[in-house]
């Protein structure tokens, strides 16, 4: 028993991680060197599906991160506080941290990684994005020599599940959400998922790794899927697209600012992400010279997430071995000047950047748009729409009167690439046209 773990939290991911660590036959032999030393929980009385001795279970989480015997803290409690404070304390105490907490990393990454670097320890977060899909480690290591220009992900299983069912069943958002909640695919409070906030946390993390700079979460444009209607899904299909909630980070030239955003998107049916359905996640990375690579798999779930958490633990254990530092030596080194440890951090595993990425305002985004208009059935409406778009340099790929909704004529427009600002200006003018009743839908096209 070489390396001692302190696990914070015994919910779904924590339980999955303990189960994996208690059942190691047929897995990597290095797992034998890991000991579940303490597990911090809120209540000792709650029935558990894993067996842990009474010395291991404790409600004193502070004591775990301060325990000098512990080498690695596994933070799987989630939430912002006390998770943030416990992670920072653990790092300051010279402990490596493995976390699945995308919300804390996306918000407090700067102080967390600064603290880790000062203490000469690692923060590992494979489970924070894409559940069990290996994407953090590939970005940090296997793709590290590339100039990344785009990361595009389906990184929220709940919304992908809802959109997939809306598409296959022709159902409304509200009905599918209610059913997803009943089945456990959506939470009672689905805000973080359906509003795109969870995806925003994740693309902030991926962008930071891919583009080598910190990301201000406030700079991530975020739009959820509540306004996606079955009508638009049907139009998408007719036009050769599917609607997906994409999280996108993109840099057009090495010197241009990043665009980082989450929004429902028309995805061409032949695109690799178009066929990612249900609760699955996928992350497409494009760079030079690699071209396109995609990582696909289960974006959530106890087992998949436990795979990512435990692999991070195992990688730490393996890395510690290369440092030729025994657990005893490691403990001794904690009382020395921590700066002496920095030189030994693997620069691909540690966080090497401190600058913030410059993020472009959405008005500067160049993208295609799909928009749906309800108009009074007057002659010349299409002409007026076309003129307004033309006034702001918005070039149209197609403009079609598709039918009627009651008394109103329905017109669907797909643009060519256009600066979002220009499109918005044209739209403001169009809204003032007397013939325009409403603009029920507006979606970006990949």
């Amino acid at each position: 028993m070489g390396v001692k773990l302190g696990i914070l939290g015994l919910g779904i991911v924590g339980t999955g991680t303990v189960q994996l660590l208690q059942d190691i036959t047929g897995r990597h032999p290095l797992l034998q060197e890991i000991e579940i030393y303490r597990v911090g929980v809120r209540s000792l009385d709650k029935p558990r599906t894993v067996e842990l001795s009474t010395e291991v279970l404790t409600t004193d989480l502070e004591a775990i991160v301060n325990d000098p015997a512990i080498d690695i803290i596994v933070e799987v409690m989630g939430g912002l506080e006390p998770a943030r404070s416990l992670i920072l304390k653990a790092l300051s105490n010279g402990k490596h941290v493995v976390t699945a907490n995308k919300a804390a990393i996306a918000r407090f990454g700067a102080e967390i990684f600064t603290t880790a670097n000062q203490a000469g320890v690692y923060v590992m977060l494979e489970a924070a994005v894409g559940g069990g899909i290996p994407v953090i480690q590939p970005l940090k290591q296997s793709l590290s020599v590339n100039r990344i220009h785009t990361i595009t992900g389906i990184v929220n299983g709940t919304t992908n599940y809802i959109l997939t069912r809306m598409q296959t069943e022709g159902s409304n958002f509200g009905d599918v959400l209610a059913d997803a909640q009943r089945l456990g695919y959506a939470e009672a409070d689905p805000t973080a998922d359906v509003e795109g906030l969870d995806a925003a946390d994740k693309i902030a993390i991926l962008a930071s790794l891919g583009f080598g700079g910190r990301i201000n979460l406030q700079d991530v444009y975020t739009e959820g899927i509540r306004q996606v209607s079955k009508t638009d899904i049907a139009y998408a299909e007719k036009l050769g697209f599917v609607i997906k909630l994409l999280a996108i980070a993109k840099r057009n030239t090495p010197s241009s600012p990043l665009s980082v955003r989450v929004h429902p998107t028309f995805v061409p049916q032949a695109h690799p992400l178009a066929s990612i359905n249900g609760v699955y996640n996928a992350i497409l990375v494009e760079g030079e010279p690699i071209g396109q690579v995609m990582f696909f798999g289960p974006g959530a779930g106890a087992g998949a997430t436990a795979s990512a958490v435990t692999s991070d633990i195992l990688n730490l254990v393996a890395t510690l071995k290369t440092q030729r530092v025994s657990t005893e030596e490691l403990h001794q080194s904690k009382i020395q000047n921590p700066k002496s440890k920095i030189a030994s951090l693997n620069p691909l595993l540690a966080c090497g950047h401190q600058e913030y990425c410059q993020i472009a305002p959405m008005a500067e985004l160049i993208t295609r748009f799909y928009a749906r208009f309800l108009t009074n059935d007057q002659p010349g409406v299409i002409g007026k729409l076309g003129t307004c778009f033309g006034n702001y340099g918005v070039s149209l790929e197609s403009i079609v009167q598709t039918g009627f909704q009651g008394e109103l004529a329905e017109i669907v427009v797909v643009t060519h690439d256009v600066p979002e600002g220009n499109f918005r200006q044209a739209l403001a003018e169009i809204r003032n046209l007397s013939a325009i009743e409403s603009i029920p839908s507006l979606l970006r096209v990949l």
Copy 2:
């Protein structure tokens, strides 16, 4: 300039690697510490698309692997000899090796890794499988805690390109191959690709990593795509399948022998691998608790392969840093007892296994089959076929007389899961039926 490279070979991959290393702005800053110290080529007079000084270029490859100044040997010459000898010599001399040579690793992996472990150095081979797709490192690190039970890959771009074109164009194998050769997607001698030998090398490597044991290449059942006809591709489509050359390694239970094989396969259209088209590669890994993860990307090409090779180099450089061993110290340590270095190897990056995997004979494989029969149009032929299959316990999913080829009736059979041995026995009996003219196709169904 910290780490000195000796590159063996300046073909497509070597040139791509040099280009990447000579153009590092906007890539990982650690690349600055890498120096292209020697590049071994066959001829100094050949025109090159990269500029290298005359001190760097040499035809003396032996001298490179024996040069005490060199830290890492990058073997991108390909072929079996002298690649094998040079790799072994480099390892014995205490140099780490990065190689893209699947053929050499699949055949000589045992001696190569034994030598590396004895010398306390690493052999990195991300580029050997899947071109630029990160799959070796994820298998070694990110998925290391899983019990892998299946690895299924489209790992040969040439055959996938040919099959994709046969499918979309309804063309014959021979015509598409000729065109692929003209376009540079297939080599003048296409044997290694179209006979499945290249895919066999790659699945042997993946199986070895995924299942933690060495693989005897002779044990890998290998069947190419020459016999795949446009008729079968059309039937596959009607039945809801596509035909792909799959490389499969599978273990049914933790204690059962492995099945490792390459053959054209009926893949259900909804399967993640069914939509991998053209020269793209994809590797689907299934395990517990991860479930399914898939890695997709360019399986070949100068840029993609150079990405993998250079990432391996960078990971070595980063790992060497964690060992707190400067280049100077590294050189000094070479003259010491090499065993002192073994303890410091990262156990996830080094090869930890020495046993050979037990491979099940194909007769024991449990799989579904598709078979096509040409028969004399006699009444009762279907009944006779059904009886023969029944005699050997082969349960049929469907048996359909699909039409005529000239005078002969064409019958297509799809079985349920059956031991391959039983199916072959039934087939031997069927071949002797007077009504059976020929059995033009026989393919396994995923």
